[in-house]
Subunit: 273 residues, 2 copies
């Protein structure tokens, strides 16, 4: 089953479920609100009228927590010259960091902007101190993200945060696919294309820490709640790893794809001062 936040013909957003051919209204203004308030009732009781001219927007606009894992695919770990880690390397983003599946990603002229296609986990239960089975059962769905990174800021200091948390630079979407339809342990492909040229193609079966590992580990120290996101890391092929490094240019189109979920198509604008 597919879920989304859509902008209706009247301009208002609503949570929606794909039911047959079209999107049907759910009783919440977006999927973040839906996950916080509606999970105790079956979706077929909640689904309303079919929506005309629905446009897919950022599905989860207000997660309380966006936890990201770095260094989680062997080929990416090798290209940045690190050892395979014994523990997940985690950092945080804010809800403000996220943007929609077709939104322009706007950053200042002159910064080094790189791509990082990622599978994102959508949490569906309250989880603290969860074991792996409980964590797996607490995964509500999956979506696509691109952890677009400002490399020069990321590498200014020991902590990556300031290169990872620029407002409205991490596209997410276009839909959330329920967890029963995707099995990242069996393998889903994760791709980036820049102006149509493939730059990343990885497979989640090669994750060092799988989706349940990441959710369980994070829940050791902080409570995860419905609508929170866990980004699972990026495969090899980032621009920073090339010789010479290759970064995004103003006007390029960044496409991020996970077959079975969908494609993010984000124009890059490097125009502000």
């Amino acid at each position: 089953m597919q879920f989304a936040t859509v902008r209706c013909a009247d301009g208002r957003p609503t949570a929606a479920v794909s039911w047959g051919a079209g999107w049907h209204r759910l009783p919440a203004p977006d999927l973040s609100a839906y996950l916080r308030t509606c999970l105790d009732r079956p979706v077929d009781e909640l689904a309303g009228e079919e929506l005309d001219g629905a446009e897919l927007v950022l599905p989860l606009p207000t997660p309380a927590k966006v936890v990201c894992c770095g260094l989680n695919y062997g080929d990416h770990i090798r290209e940045v010259g690190r050892p395979v880690p014994a523990h997940p390397t985690l950092f945080a983003k804010y809800a403000d960091t996220l943007t929609g599946p077709s939104d322009v990603v706007s950053l200042p002229r002159g910064v080094d902007v790189d791509w990082e296609a990622e599978l994102a986990v959508v949490v569906g239960r309250d989880l603290r101190g969860a074991g792996k089975d409980e964590a797996a059962a607490g995964i509500w769905g999956y979506t696509v993200a691109n952890d677009v990174s400002v490399r020069d800021w990321q590498n200014r200091t020991l902590q990556w945060f300031q290169g990872k948390a620029w407002d409205r630079t991490t596209p997410v979407g276009p839909v959330v696919v329920s967890a029963d339809e995707i099995d990242p342990c069996a393998g889903v492909e994760v791709l980036t294309r820049v102006d149509g040229v493939e730059r990343q193609r990885g497979n989640t079966e090669t994750l060092v820490f799988d989706v349940a590992d990441l959710v369980a580990y994070t829940s050791t120290f902080t409570r995860l709640r419905p609508g929170d996101l866990v980004l699972t890391g990026t495969p090899g092929g980032v621009g920073m790893g090339m010789t010479p490094p290759l970064f995004l240019r103003d006007g390029q189109l960044l496409e991020t794809e996970i077959p079975g979920i969908g494609v993010l198509r984000n124009p890059i604008a490097l125009t502000t001062t």
Copy 2:
């Protein structure tokens, strides 16, 4: 002027202002809500009845952003063996990481728990791309924080986040003092005591990046809003820097003081499994 979130005799929390001898009710359930909704009206119009038996609790329970600076005092930079940085080293916490001025800080048995007394800036305006003057004018007040750190988790990977974001481990309070009453550039002392033994005594006049620098720099990449917190780093004297390292033990009392603001008194419980 001093502000706080207090628990009234009836058990309910409310934002409050210190007005003469006692605390007076403000029309919001806590200071986070007060800062989001009430800053357009003068506090003397808003202050209500005096509150009996008011107990000070976490003043800012729901900041959207808690941005922390590491490596910002020369003596602390030396004790951890780092060069003086050219840019602020920033990382994030969540609202869930915070706890009240007299709450028990509870962590699992066996982890390495260290203290980091800090001056915390409370933002009072919408700030994005702010210059230093605008950032300075956007500081609403100051409070005390202790960036209690789980050192073994902090040092498991390149990113400190997992040692810094354990739920309810960063005490904040006891009050917020309005920015007109404190001048960190002129110098305020920042102290930690453990079971009455002084462990840290620094002065904000020695900050590498001052409060307005930190707010302006952060606003380059993310919008700060009323109620957000910026923690300004810790002075020398952390347990990790001692030979041999010294960490907090179950049952110890952690006191964090900034004269002119107040003292946090947090019992340490290392009891969960």
